[in-house]
Symmetry: C2
Subunit: 268 residues, 2 copies
């Protein structure tokens, strides 16, 4: 999906919500465990319940791979449940030497036809570039993440005066335009979010960490929203596991709707 189309959808639906699909067998409602493919049933119900209120889905590959050899089949079946109108981010944190990254791009952009893939920057240019340059496909590069470990390397001061994540953003903007590259910036650090917006004014940010990880939507919007929105805010656990009972889909829908209603205020 191209940028203009994504922006249109955001304003039409008055939502910049991305629903993270982290289907955990230990957390999904017990009554689903009797079905043939509990994870697929769960995902399908969550997608149906939340589709009116979000513009994107972010399936997390770890939760599919944890199913073993049938996991990617379930990932594939899950993708088929997502309406064509929604932007799909495969949250896989891939990145390897050039010829291997090319294969990951082939996997997620061609075979699975996702719109975007999250990428880890550690290995540098030739590990990231194979994900750039395909029309309507996106590399979503880790910059400053929402977890405690972000202090270990991402925040380290470099000899050139920048911090590592700032250098990652600066170099990556030389590699890819705002039509093909987004950055992951955690909601748990709103003061940083504002500075990162100044550094990369034209780029979309994928912002995890609202909800279970403690980030606040109003602070995020104040710090990073642009005239064409420029952000996708992800919520996973707070929506998926809003209830562990038979009403899980209804509760997920309510939760997504509540976020959409709050988001609409910022999109006026």
């Amino acid at each position: 999906m191209k940028r203009a189309e994504l922006v249109n959808r955001i304003f039409e639906k008055q939502s910049f919500l991305c629903v993270g699909l982290d289907p955990d067998l230990e957390k999904i409602p017990k009554h689903l465990l009797e079905s043939e493919n509990p994870v697929l049933e769960f995902n399908k119900a969550i997608i149906e319940a939340t589709a009116p209120y979000c513009v994107a889905y972010k399936p997390n590959l770890a939760f599919f791979e944890a199913l073993g050899e049938t996991g990617m089949q379930t990932f594939y079946e899950t993708l088929k449940c997502i309406p064509k109108s929604h932007f799909v981010i495969a949250d896989a944190k891939r990145g390897d030497i050039g010829n291997t990254s090319k294969k990951y791009a082939e996997a997620f952009f061609e075979k699975f036809d996702c719109d975007a893939l999250t990428i880890a920057p550690y290995m540098g240019a030739d590990s990231v570039q194979p994900f750039l340059g395909e029309s309507g496909k996106w590399a979503v590069l880790l910059a400053l993440t929402s977890n405690p470990g972000a202090d270990d390397f991402e925040q380290l001061p470099l000899a050139n005066g920048k911090r590592l994540f700032e250098e990652v953003i600066d170099k990556a903007m030389e590699w890819g335009s705002a039509e093909e590259l987004m950055f992951v910036v955690g909601a748990t650090r709103p003061e940083e979010l504002k500075k990162i917006r100044e550094r990369a004014p034209g780029y979309f940010f994928l912002i995890p960490g609202v909800g279970a990880q403690g980030g606040n939507l109003e602070e995020v919007a104040a710090a990073a929203l642009t005239t064409d929105c420029g952000i996708l805010v992800n919520a996973s656990r707070s929506i998926l596991y809003a209830s562990s009972g038979i009403d899980f889909a209804e509760k997920a829908s309510n939760e997504a709707k509540a976020m959409q209603v709050e988001m609409a205020k910022f999109l006026l």
Copy 2:
């Protein structure tokens, strides 16, 4: 597989060779394309042909994921072809926030029962720690890789005087012992390899880049070999694609054997 067992195997077989399984449909011999699962046939033949000369296999997940929804089934079937005597490194470069990394550990250590998994360090401690602490299981952490992009971030000088990959190694040694943590250090930079060996004398290194990427085995051994070996040298393309004809397995076997014979000289 525990460290003592791995070291025993290395000295018994007089080999520290790891064969990288990067099965590329565009490169495997054409006559295999007629079989039901060409990639599996290819892997099976390569494993049979090289098992006497190597101690480890490193299947590269990108090449399995590029097969689409059946890829992980082929990965699983490939694992079943690897003799129990061999150390298995899933080359997947995973790493995410703690609860997601836990799922990746579950996938590769429990479901697929691999001995080791390659991990990207960018997201810090809580992204790496879920891969540590399981007896006989290993996190193989990216330190200094063999690709050109290593100059972009890994080699960056930090304000504390170290380079990023040195900080990664120092911090990671606080997180994990030499019984559960290895480092990826590219063969293409032997002068660095020697310094990294001084920095992390007790840890195993997984060394890619010998062969197609231009690294030299003698230089690598001189720089990084320890009294209990301490290295696994990976070769992928130079073995897998030694021939594109019907003799591919024989040629792969010859190539692996030649490397083993050279390795034996350094293990005396």
